[in-house]
């Protein structure tokens, strides 16, 4: 019982610790600023654009700070930027509609690829020569030279 309470308290502490980090304004500014692009055409992440005389990045950063000061949540802030600057302001495809395809396809191909390679390995393994236990085939002449060559290639040392 006591152990359970200690575990619960530890869990609560962790949750509080993580939540404290999440609500920190500077952390949110950095996170959101890295999820948006500068729209001046430099193709840089908003917080990484330092082009001298950039007409956009300073203004966008100020707008982001103002939104955070107002207490807007992340979704509201991002959608207000999309409304103002267009969909290209978001640095990565959103997890909605057709944009989901962008995220799904690489992982799907990875899974299919792994399944494919494993199937291939199994198929090739099943083709391996199976000899009855204890059977020995005599190796002579050119075949012996070939095996020697193979052994040299395999060991390489």
């Amino acid at each position: 019982m006591r152990l359970r309470r200690v575990a619960q308290a530890a869990l609560l502490c962790c949750a509080v610790f993580l939540c404290m980090g999440a609500s920190d304004q500077e952390t949110r500014f950095k996170d959101l600023g890295h999820r948006m692009m500068c729209v001046c055409g430099c193709s840089q992440i908003l917080l990484e654009c330092n082009h001298v005389g950039c007409q956009y990045s300073d203004r966008m950063r100020s707008e982001l700070i103002a939104g955070l000061d107002r207490g807007d949540n992340d979704d509201l802030l991002l959608s207000s930027f999309v409304q103002k600057y267009g969909t290209t302001v978001i640095a990565a495809p959103t997890n909605t509609g057709f944009n989901r395809v962008a995220w799904i396809v690489p992982y799907l191909v990875l899974v299919l690829g792994i399944v494919g390679v494993i199937s291939l390995v199994r198929l090739w393994k099943s083709r391996a020569l199976v000899l009855p236990a204890g059977a020995v085939l005599p190796v002579k002449g050119a075949e012996l030279v070939e095996f020697r060559d193979q052994a040299r290639k395999d060991t390489e040392l």
């Binding site: 980090g21 001298v52 969909t87 290209t88 390995v121 083709r127």
Partner: protein, 564 residues
Amino acid sequence: MRYKTDSRLFAYASVIIAAVQVFFLLLLNFAARPFVGTPGIAPADGNGLNPLLQYPEMVIHPPMLYLGYVGFTVPFAFALAALIMRYPGEKWIHITRRWTMVTWGFLTCGIFLGAHWAYSVLGWGGYWGWDPVENASFMPWLTGTAFLHSVMMQEKRGMLKIWNMWLIFVTFGLCIFGTFLTRSGVVSSVHAFAQSSIGNWFVVFMALIAATCAFYFFKNKSHLRSEHKLESIASRESSFLFNNLLFVLFCFTVLWGTLFPILSEWVQGTKVTVGPPFFNKVAIPVVLLLLLLTALGPLLAWRKTSIESIKRNFTWPALGALLVGVLMMVFGVRPWVDISYFYSLMAAMLAILVALTVISEFIRGGRVISRHTGMGLPGSMLHLLHRNTRRYGGYIVHMGVALVIIGFLGSAFNQDAEKEMGYGDKMTIGPYTLVCRSYTQEDKPNYGSEWAIIDIFRGGKQIDTMFPERRFYKASQQTQTVPQIHSTVKEDFFLVKDLYMVYEGINQDTGKPIIKAHLNPMVPWIWIGWIVMIVGTVAALVPNAAPVRLTAPARVQTAPVGAD
């Protein structure tokens, strides 16, 4: 003089190379003539070179990439020639192996020089932005790396003949595709230095290449039949299969991300941005898996590896990697706080695992030679490298990759600060205090500049003075920052950092300069790792030394006791 022994193969390959050359000559003479004058009145002294390109590395970065792209024509031409003429055996691979490695080396140099240029010139504190043109150079590098590994399967086991053929076709196709992306303007890129309307020419050429390759492949497919037999999943063959899967998947992911904005616009009518957050999220797990295979692969034998052998060879490197992970957590890396910390921790452990397996392979092989020859261990390891340059040169390249990854993972711990700094003003970043000693202006024939003099202190002791600068180029009427970088190699060698400083401009209200500072941990390891990769590539190109001939000690003939 090799062409004398394989004159027909060389003749076919030469025709294919000449065909590629004809395409580019047509392009230069009819579509994109380089010596055509620009419309309008030209300035007396010309427009001047783009300020971004006025940097020494820019003299060698484009030729390196060029050699990387162009060089893949040779293995492609030999592969296609071998397919067309049903050339027996793996000789085309032997002939083109050095070409492929040299080309791969040039492409590696080109990519890293570009990254170093971006870091030293662009002033955003990073070296890779997943820009479409950067991706264009990275994709053939990935498939080329897969090819360098998978040809070993064909050479040693006669496997993957079709795969290798298509891998080099795709690599060459991606080189052409990269040129198309750079020059056609089909995707927006910061590398739009030389856009023109030659995209259609490239589309036709790529279609021709694909049609030619497909035609001869289906015509002569039977020639590429190989005996696919695998004795165990715990074998070098399996590791190469997974390695190739991951490299090709990585390449597909980069291609997918690069072209998704076009696809999105076509499907839903609106363009989306696919920037670094997408690539980092999708690519990092693949890189981690590749690192794991890089560590495991060399420990696996061809055909079959016993569990005992894996345990014996893997235990110490794995313990070393675990120790590094524990130390990182003890010194404050909390993988549960942020996913980037988790990835960094994993990347560090796997990179150390790769490095330790490479070291253990050298030591193990060196000991064997030392035992048989009586040489010291360092000399034996050098001899080992010389005995099988391809294998051990490859391991040095793996070591370089591990160092590069260690350099990349530092980005999770980057810090930055920005401040308006008048005379004597201070700014703190990490353990460093920056003090503005002065700021001034200067006029030169090519540009006018504003710059600050910033003293760097650590622990109350001055360690350097930096001069971040902003230039205004007169001919092109463009402004350019010139970042200053101080690498802390002397202060902390293993956990080296870059103090990266940018002069952002002058606040018109106060007249004081605005200075931005980044503290980028581990970045110098990227450049060190790159050099190690090139050293490994060069080592792998050196011909093997003749094997040491061991002579059995002569038996002493002794006369039997009592004999006359």
